[in-house]
């Protein structure tokens, strides 16, 4: 796997996770700290189907999509809706998602022990690369991840722009109270955003083991990159998640690789530092993300254009 190829695969997966995070942030106004564990949930669906039924991980994508959506429903209706109905502040909602993350970590960890016990093969750590196949001298995951992202973006476009429900959803994302006055059920759009978020994260989770090793703790490690992607693009915009996912994904793998040529391979473990630096620079220069910058207003660009 070449560096650029790996970077693109990783970015595609980050985009899936960041879109989900951004969607739930727009509708429920809470950054979901459990998004990383949502992905690991998907990884464990794939490993279960592989170990117990011999299903190839690529074929478990639809199953993960459905079950991930189910997880979204459970988290929203079981945890967030009761809290929102009580008028809980954002901080309380954030702490609730941290608690959800811990519960998921515990459940996934317990399940990994159980799965390891019944299949007599440890499920605490796994990777799918041996199951991948080469296509045109490139890895299969390269094409699969691109295919998935194109299909999902196309599906999202159809849903958001071509259906009545999508119009309602976008309206309640932009202005919930106005949308409610116009008869949109904001409750439904919130639920829908959590279903989609869980589903996309689980799909990303199925594909992630093709690129890196998965352990129950993986969610807590990738969450920094997911947040960086969403914030760099702009937490308030789905297009921002797309942009941010590629910026963070490419800089994390590509820049680290370039730096390792100068400073030696020791620098490779610092890839998360790159996403943190990108995040901090964005927060200082453009706290609302890249999509919020009004490029035409920037003076030097103006003089350059005219």
């Amino acid at each position: 796997m070449s560096v650029l190829e790996g970077a693109i695969i990783y970015s595609n997966l980050l985009v899936l996770l960041a879109i989900g995070l951004t969607m739930t942030y727009i509708t429920t106004a809470v950054p979901n700290f459990a998004q990383g564990s949502f992905a690991v949930f998907g990884s464990y669906i794939a490993i279960t189907l592989l170990r117990l039924l011999g299903v190839h991980p690529y074929l478990s994508i639809p199953v993960a999509f459905v079950l991930g959506g189910g997880l979204g429903v459970v988290i929203y209706t079981g945890v967030l809706r009761p809290l929102i109905n009580r008028g809980a502040q954002i901080v309380i909602l954030m702490i609730a998602t941290l608690a959800v993350d811990l519960i998921l970590l515990g459940l996934i960890g317990a399940y990994s022990d159980y799965l390891g016990m019944i299949t007599k093969k440890s499920a605490k750590k796994f990777i799918f690369t041996p199951y991948d196949f080469p296509v045109l001298n490139l890895t299969g995951i390269f094409f699969v991840s691109i295919l998935v992202i194109v299909l999902i973006l196309f599906g999202l476009y159809l849903l958001l722009y071509k259906t009545k429900f999508g119009v309602a959803m976008r309206a309640s994302m932009e202005n919930p109270s106005l949308a409610e006055i116009m008869g949109v059920n904001v409750e439904n759009t919130r639920l829908a955003s959590w279903i989609l978020s869980g589903a996309l994260a689980a799909v990303a989770g199925v594909l992630l083991p093709f690129r890196q090793e998965i352990v129950p703790m993986t969610g807590g490690i990738i969450i920094v990159s997911i947040f960086a992607s969403s914030i760099v693009g702009g937490l308030g915009s789905i297009f921002g998640a797309l942009l941010g996912g590629y910026i963070v994904g490419i800089s994390e793998s590509f820049v680290t690789f370039q730096l390792s040529g100068i400073f030696g391979p020791g620098i490779l473990v610092y890839s998360r530092v790159i996403s943190l630096v990108v995040l901090v620079i964005t927060l200082i220069l453009a706290p609302k993300g890249l999509v919020s910058i009004k490029w035409r207003r920037i003076k030097w660009l103006k003089s350059f254009l005219s």
């Binding site: 954030m94 609730a96 608690a99 811990l102 519960i103 317990a110 969450i223 473990v269 901090v280």
Partner: protein
């Protein structure tokens, strides 16, 4: 004998967690700053002891080489010296704590700097991200505190033989926790505490009264982090080593939040209640984990049970008792007391 150690364990952890939870209560309970990176300050305290004090000792003793091996040499040499001269051990303990507080405060102030202007959700994300990345760096990079191998720390109480050391150390931890409690209590009943509560309730009002929110946030996180770093330093000196994995987000960010919310936001007495009940529950869970797993017939490692259980406890608190066990009370200053008294006597006259 087993009960004695159980109680000892509880006392030590109540002391350590009390320090961290009190520091979090200043920032989050009073100031409303959602510091999701509390573990960072605790880690800094450990780095002050395992990384900086160790290096100073390496220089003074003339030990060279990698910190992982050198810390072992330093530890042996220092332990011999401390056994002969207790004063060295005590000054090492006090020096280590002071250094940890200073490093904690400086790094804490630097840590909030990029995010001091942000709204609370962005703030929480950034603090969590910085803390998480620092945790990973100190875990992967062996040159800071030995990475996953860890470093050794001299036994500052080497002049006390055998098991007695544990009891003395527990007393020291509790003593420092009480000092912190008194200090925090005093600080938060001053005008500064009321200013923090005002910031939590409405930043715009505080701004209108001419206070700089950014400075206030930096100052508060610096104070909080300095205090939290004490716990990291004490923990490292107690366990005579530093391993980065001991400073995870669950143990030093999530659990302190759980304790503060359990006890009740914004009141120091609540924190004591929250910490005590959490620690007792957790130590019993850890001590009898194999019995519990066997009794319930669970097919997995008991550590996962702990995560699931405390995650649910947090959700239950948030949903059913968001004010915690002890409800927050307004701070009664002398003028307010006077007004209340006057009103009471007026009511008494008319009634």
């Amino acid at each position: 004998m087993a009960e004695e150690f159980l109680i000892l364990n509880i006392v030590i952890w109540i002391g350590l967690y009390l320090i961290v939870a009190l520091s979090l209560n200043i920032e989050f309970g009073f100031g409303g700053i959602p510091n999701f990176g509390r573990a960072f300050a605790v880690l800094m305290g450990a780095i002050a002891v395992g990384g900086i004090v160790n290096r100073i000792l390496m220089l003074t003793l003339g030990v060279s080489g990698q910190i992982i091996d050198a810390s072992g040499v330093v530890k042996t040499a220092m332990n011999d010296m401390i056994a002969q001269n207790p004063l060295i051990g005590i000054s090492l303990l006090i020096g280590g704590l002071l250094l940890a507080a200073v490093i904690g405060a400086i790094t804490g102030a630097a840590f909030i700097l990029p995010s001091a202007k942000l709204s609370e959700d962005y703030l929480a994300i950034t603090l969590l991200a910085i803390s998480e990345v620092m945790f990973l760096v100190s875990y992967y990079h062996p040159d800071i505190v030995g990475g996953y191998y860890g470093v050794k720390v001299p036994n500052v109480l080497n002049f006390i033989p055998g098991e007695q050391r544990l009891f003395v150390f527990a007393a020291i931890i509790i003593f420092i926790a009480i000092l912190v409690y008194l200090l925090v209590n005093r600080m938060l009943s001053s005008p500064y505490g009321r200013l923090l509560k005002a910031m939590r309730e409405n930043e715009e009002v505080v701004k209108a009264y001419g206070k700089d929110i950014m400075k206030l946030r930096i100052k508060t996180v610096a104070v909080g982090s300095g205090i939290a770093a004490l716990a990291g330093a004490l923990y490292s000196m107690f366990s005579v080593n530093v391993i980065a994995t001991n400073f995870s987000r669950v143990e030093w960010t999530f659990y302190p939040f759980l304790m503060v919310l359990l006890g009740g936001l914004g009141n120091t007495r609540g924190v004591v209640v929250g910490v005590s009940s959490f620690v007792i529950a957790r130590i019993f869970l850890i001590t009898y984990k194999f019995e519990i797993v066997e009794f319930l017939g669970l097919p997995f490692d008991p550590v996962w049970l702990e995560y699931i259980l405390f995650g649910f406890v947090m959700l239950l608190i948030l949903i059913y008792r968001p004010e915690g066990l002890i409800r927050e009370k307004p701070i009664l200053t002398d003028p307010i007391k006077k007004i209340l008294k006057k009103r009471k006597s007026e009511l008494g006259d008319s009634g």
